[in-house]
C-alpha cells in the first residue's frame, strides 16, 4: 500500500510567484476604493504641480519684473536724485511712453531693487555697529528683529498713504509704487549712518536734518507724479496738500525707524 502523498506547500511560495507585469498598478492594490483614492490624490498632485509652474511663469513675466529692470546708470542717477533732490533742476514728470516699458530709460520710474538693498544694508550695518561696540551675543536676534520692525513700519506707512490717497479724491495708486516711493528712505538712512560713522557723529544733527529734508522733498515730488497721473481722470485741488501730508508721514516714519534702530 503506497503511502498517500501529502502535498507539501511551502508557506513562502508567494514570494516566487511571478507577477504579471501587464497588470496595471490599480488592479494590484486589490481594493477599488483605495485605488480610486490613490489615483485622485495623484491627479491632484499633478494638477497642483502644473498650476504652480504656470503661476511661477506668469509671476516672472508679469509687470512686476519692470520694477527690477535696473542697470548701473539708473542706480547711480537714482541715488544722486535721492540725496540731492533739492538741487535737482531736471523734469520730475514720468513720460507715458516709457512708463510701461522699462524704467531704465526714465529716472523717475519707481523700482524695488534700491529699497530692498537699502533695507538690508542698513540692518547689516546696524548689526555690525552693535557687534563691534556693545553686545555681540545678541546680534542674530537684533538682526531679525530690526528687519521685521522696518518691514512693519513700512507696511503701516504704505497703508496710511493708500488711505490718504483714497480720502483725497479717491485716487487709485498702485501699491507697489507706494512701496517703492516710501522705502527709498533706507538708501538715505544708510548714507546717513555711514556719514555719522566716518565723522564720529560730529555733524550728526546737520546730516540728519539734511537727509530728512531730502526725503521729504523726494516724496513730495514723487507723489505729485502719481497724483498727476490720476488727475487726468478727475479734477483734484488737494494735490499740494496731499503731497505735503505724505512727505510729513515719510519724515515721521524715518524718525521712528531711527529711534528703533
Amino acid at each position: 500500500m503506497k503511502p498517500e502523498l501529502i502535498p507539501m506547500t511551502d508557506p513562502l511560495d508567494f514570494i516566487m510567484i511571478p507577477v504579471d507585469q501587464n497588470k496595471s498598478f490599480q488592479s494590484r492594490i486589490g481594493n477599488p476604493f483605495l485605488e480610486e483614492t490613490a489615483s485622485n490624490i495623484g491627479k491632484k498632485i499633478a494638477l497642483f504641480g502644473t498650476k504652480y509652474e504656470n503661476f511661477i511663469c506668469s509671476l516672472f513675466s508679469s509687470q512686476y519684473r519692470f520694477y527690477f529692470d535696473v542697470d548701473n546708470q539708473y542706480i547711480l542717477r537714482k541715488l544722486s536724485l535721492l540725496h540731492t533732490p533739492i538741487i535737482y533742476r531736471g523734469d520730475w514728470t514720468l513720460s507715458n511712453e516709457t512708463s510701461s516699458v522699462s524704467i531704465t530709460k526714465n529716472m523717475h520710474a519707481p523700482d524695488l531693487y534700491l529699497p530692498l538693498m537699502g533695507l538690508v544694508t542698513l540692518v547689516l550695518l546696524q548689526c555690525l555697529n552693535i557687534g563691534i561696540n556693545n553686545a555681540p551675543q545678541y546680534i542674530s536676534i537684533y538682526m531679525i528683529n530690526s528687519f521685521w520692525k522696518c518691514l512693519i513700519i513700512s507696511s503701516i506707512e504704505v497703508a496710511l498713504m493708500r488711505i490718504l490717497f483714497f480720502l483725497f479724491g479717491n485716487l487709485k495708486v498702485s501699491i507697489i509704487d507706494l512701496v517703492s516711493i516710501s522705502n527709498y528712505r533706507y538708501c538715505s538712512l544708510t548714507t546717513l549712518f555711514i556719514f555719522n560713522l566716518i565723522t564720529y557723529h560730529i555733524f550728526w544733527t546737520v546730516g540728519t536734518m539734511y537727509i530728512l529734508l531730502s526725503q521729504a522733498v523726494f516724496v513730495y515730488k514723487s507723489t505729485q507724479i502719481c497724483i498727476e497721473q490720476q488727475i487726468q481722470k478727475c479734477e483734484n485741488s488737494f494735490e499740494p496738500t496731499l503731497a505735503l501730508f505724505l512727505s510729513l508721514l515719510q519724515v515721521g516714519c524715518s524718525c521712528l525707524i531711527f529711534y528703533i534702530l
Binding site: 529692470d69 531693487y113 555690525l128 557687534g131 555681540p136 542674530s140
Partner: protein, 236 residues
C-alpha cells in the same frame, strides 16, 4: 568493466583533456571528429581577436583596478570636492555643474557651518538655516525678476546649490574662528576678505548662467549682503 569516466573524459589523470589542449573554450566533438573553435560563430570575424585565443599570448593585466567608488559609479565625494575647489580657487567650473548642480555639497557645507561654531560655544543652527532660507528665497525672486528675457528662469535648487557652494570660504572663516579671536581688526579684515571671496566666485557662476554682463555688480551686491550676514553670525 569499462573504467569510470568523469564528465571531462579524463582517464589518465596525467593526461590533459583533449578539449583543453588548444583552447579551453573550443568545443571538441569526438563523434563528428570536429572542433568548434572559439569565435567561429561570431558574425563579425574581425572581432574574433577580441575573444580569448590561446595562440596569442595571454593578455597582461594593464588595466589598473579602479577605486571602489568609481567602479560602483558613486562619484559624489569627488564631485563635491572638485566643486568646492572650483569655488575656493576660482577654477573654471565644469559645464555639468552649471547644468545639473547637486545639493549634497551645499547640505554638507551648511551643516559644517552650523557645527563649527559649536566648538566656540555658539549655537547658531536656527539663525543659519532661517536666514539662509529667507535669503535663498529673496535671491531666487530677485534673480528671476532681473532676467528680462521671457521664458528664461533659474530653478530653486540651482540657486540653492550655487549659494551653498559659495559658503565654502565662510566655512573656512568659521574654522579659523575656533583658533583665532575674530572680534578684532584682523578678524574684521579676514571676514571682509571671505565675504568678497564668496561673492566673487558665485557671481562668476551667475554671470555665466544669466549672461547679464552689464549688471554684474547689481547681481554681486545682493550676494555680498547674503554672505555678509553669515560672516556677521560667524564673527559675533
Amino acid at each position: 568493466m569499462q573504467p569510470l569516466k568523469n564528465p571531462f573524459g579524463i582517464i589518465d589523470p596525467n593526461e590533459k583533456p583533449k578539449q583543453y589542449q588548444n583552447n579551453p573554450f573550443d568545443i571538441q566533438n569526438d563523434e563528428l571528429n570536429e572542433t568548434i573553435k572559439l569565435g567561429d560563430n561570431v558574425a563579425n570575424q574581425e572581432e574574433k581577436h577580441l575573444l580569448f585565443d590561446s595562440q596569442k599570448s595571454q593578455p597582461q593585466e594593464t588595466v589598473e583596478d579602479l577605486p571602489l567608488l568609481e567602479d560602483l559609479d558613486i562619484t559624489s565625494p569627488l564631485l563635491i570636492k572638485s566643486r568646492i575647489m572650483s569655488v575656493l580657487f576660482f577654477q573654471k567650473c565644469d559645464s555639468e555643474y552649471l547644468e545639473d548642480p547637486d545639493l549634497s555639497g551645499p547640505i554638507l557645507i551648511v551643516v559644517s557651518l552650523g557645527l563649527l561654531p559649536l566648538l566656540t560655544g555658539k549655537v547658531h543652527f536656527n539663525y543659519i538655516y532661517g536666514i539662509g532660507l529667507w535669503g535663498w528665497m529673496l535671491l531666487y525672486l530677485l534673480m528671476n525678476f532681473m532676467i528680462q528675457q521671457q521664458g528664461k528662469q533659474i530653478e530653486f535648487y540651482k540657486i540653492l546649490s550655487y549659494l551653498g557652494y559659495g559658503l565654502a570660504p565662510i566655512v573656512v572663516l568659521s574654522f579659523l574662528s575656533v583658533f583665532l579671536q575674530l572680534n578684532s581688526s584682523f578678524g574684521y579684515a579676514l571676514a571682509i576678505v571671505c565675504a568678497f571671496w564668496s561673492t566673487a566666485s558665485v557671481s562668476k557662476t551667475f554671470d555665466t548662467i544669466l549672461g547679464l554682463q552689464h549688471r554684474r555688480l547689481l547681481i554681486a551686491y545682493p550676494l555680498f549682503l547674503f554672505y555678509c550676514t553669515f560672516v556677521i553670525i560667524t564673527i559675533f
